[in-house]
């Protein structure tokens, strides 16, 4: 797996940081993760960390290319 660029990592960690403390994210068979665990996985660039980054980047791309906002019109 490619190394996560520093600025991307910082962006994703900042986005995770606004997550409430009382919720968890279940990612398939990888398990369930708290906010701190998500940040740790991103920091350590684990498989889970890469999945989180990929999910967030796919979303940001959908925002920037208008794909997400097409849902409003559909």
């Amino acid at each position: 797996m490619n190394k996560i660029p520093k600025e991307v990592k910082e962006l994703i960690l900042a986005r995770i940081d606004v997550m409430p403390d009382n919720i968890k994210l279940s990612i398939g068979s990888y398990g369930s993760f708290s906010k701190d665990q998500l940040k740790e996985n991103v920091e350590k660039e684990t498989d889970v960390g890469h999945k989180i980054v990929e999910m967030q980047l796919d979303f940001l791309k959908a925002v920037s290319n208008g794909e997400l906002y097409s849902l409003v019109d559909a």
Binding site: I23, S26, I27, G28, S29, M55, D58, F59, A62, L68
Partner: protein
């Protein structure tokens, strides 16, 4: 002739426990609609029981898998494989399948349809679910509901007589509405919208879109 639906509902970890409870609502709906439901719950969500019912039980027209998986497999209790592409997907022949498990629509779904499954609805990537860690009653968890309501809706639409394609489109619309709700509400952080978007774009249907239960 009575229609029969088989549903697997393991509950060995957080995700499967949530699916077990939420899809229990779909099971109850099916029973109230007069559908004969074979409920492989907890430890009963295993390959031996599944194969036994499919091979020897009443003719099953609709199967709902809840659990984990990957591109080639769906699993049950303790992540034991129930169906694996290239091994026993022929058991899904002549049936409508809905699989709430990671990525199985990508390969298992295609292989199942090639081997006679009527339609296979599922996800082409890992299934993401946000939930409230402090909520003791999963059905009261409105955050999880954003991710799971479309699954209940899909099952209900099929049972009510909608075609697989129409049911899929309506369920996808439910997921879309969840996304839009999080975009306009201050109650939800942006990563929740991102996870819903992920599930929305991986939600997929293979096979016949005009099939009826």
């Amino acid at each position: 002739m009575d229609k029969t639906m088989l549903i697997t509902r393991p509950k060995h970890d957080n995700l499967t426990y949530y699916l077990n409870v939420w899809m229990g609502e779909a099971k109850t709906f099916a029973e109230k609609q007069g559908i004969n439901v074979i409920d492989l719950e907890g430890e009963n969500a295993n390959r031996i029981k599944f194969e036994s019912y499919v091979k020897k039980g009443p003719i099953i027209k609709f199967i709902v898998f809840n659990g984990h998986g990957n591109e080639e497999t769906v699993t049950g209790h303790n992540n034991e494989e129930i169906v694996h592409a290239g091994v026993n997907e022929n058991l899904l022949s002549d049936k409508i399948i809905y699989s709430i498990s990671c990525a199985s629509a990508k390969t298992l779904g295609l292989k199942s349809v090639e081997n006679g499954a009527v339609a296979y609805i599922g996800y082409k990537d890992d299934f993401y679910l946000y939930y409230k860690d402090t909520e003791t009653k999963p059905l009261n968890d409105d955050l999880a509901g954003l991710f799971l309501q479309h699954a209940i809706d899909l099952i209900e639409y099929i049972i009510k007589g909608n075609s697989t394609g129409i049911a899929f489109d309506k369920a996808k619309k439910t997921l879309k509405e969840s996304i839009l709700a999080t975009m306009v509400s201050k109650s939800f952080s942006p990563d929740i919208t991102a996870a819903l978007w992920h599930d929305y774009i991986s939600f997929a249907i293979e096979g016949e879109k005009d099939a009826l239960l």
